[in-house]
Symmetry: none
Subunit: 149 residues, 2 copies
């Protein structure tokens, strides 16, 4: 399974193309067929899933009972989904909608989050993390959770 770690600050060109860091490309599972699925995620950022991981998620989504909630979620999710194969220079491209939602226009940051990558407009990212430096607090809380096992 693909695992992404580290954060990289890049830029989108005027055609909506984003370079995927070489490290991420190397970490990409061959089953993913060089393809990322980009989708909207909470806090107005984007996520890029390797195709194979996304397919699994889709299967799981299909299996859910069709309640009004899941139906709504499916519609909202799929509205923003695009799949994008790495081009010959190792880039993927974002749709206009995705750029609009995420506020990405020039500088962005790609953050490896284990099984997927998050894409943020650089300004929004710093704002999100900068809201009070409660890192230490969060850390100890998490450590506690882990220990519960």
């Amino acid at each position: 399974m693909s695992r992404f770690r580290g954060s990289y600050e890049y830029s989108v060109d005027e055609k909506g193309r984003v370079n995927v860091p070489a490290k991420f490309r190397k970490a990409l599972n061959p089953d993913a067929d060089e393809t990322f699925v980009v989708v909207r995620a909470p806090n107005n950022c984007l996520r890029a899933y390797p195709l194979d991981a996304w397919s699994e998620f889709e299967d799981e989504l299909d299996a859910r009972p069709q309640t009004p909630q899941t139906l709504k979620l499916r519609r909202q999710l799929y509205a923003s989904v695009s799949d994008s194969k790495l081009d010959s220079q190792g880039r993927i491209s974002l749709t206009a909608l995705q750029m609009q939602i995420s506020g990405i226009d020039k500088k962005l940051i790609l953050v490896g989050q284990g099984p997927y990558i998050e894409l943020w407009d650089i300004t929004r990212y710093e704002e999100f993390l900068g809201d009070g430096d409660d890192f230490d607090e969060a850390f100890f809380q998490s450590a506690q959770e882990t220990m519960k096992k």
Copy 2:
């Protein structure tokens, strides 16, 4: 499992490379693929986990339900994460962000902490420890906590 003991005072070069003490390299689990995952830790220091140990933690993190809280924690954690394979001279490299957070610029100390290594700017480390020698107190307090369980 890897076990690191002892502390070593080294220096970062202008490219952000840090030598890993020979003793630590020998203690590294072969499963770690010569790779350390460096991440921010409490008190503005850094931790280096062997890849295999870090992966276990990631699996546990992935298994958690995606609530706003866990998402934020993940982001805070991953914001500073990098993975770094030992180069041909047995060094790992720190990112600009990691050096900024930890204040490491020239001299640093690597402290073996059992399953992981802590990296401190040498000045901050001495300040942190120097704030009153409360070793005895800490020793007895911690021993008591352990007994409670």
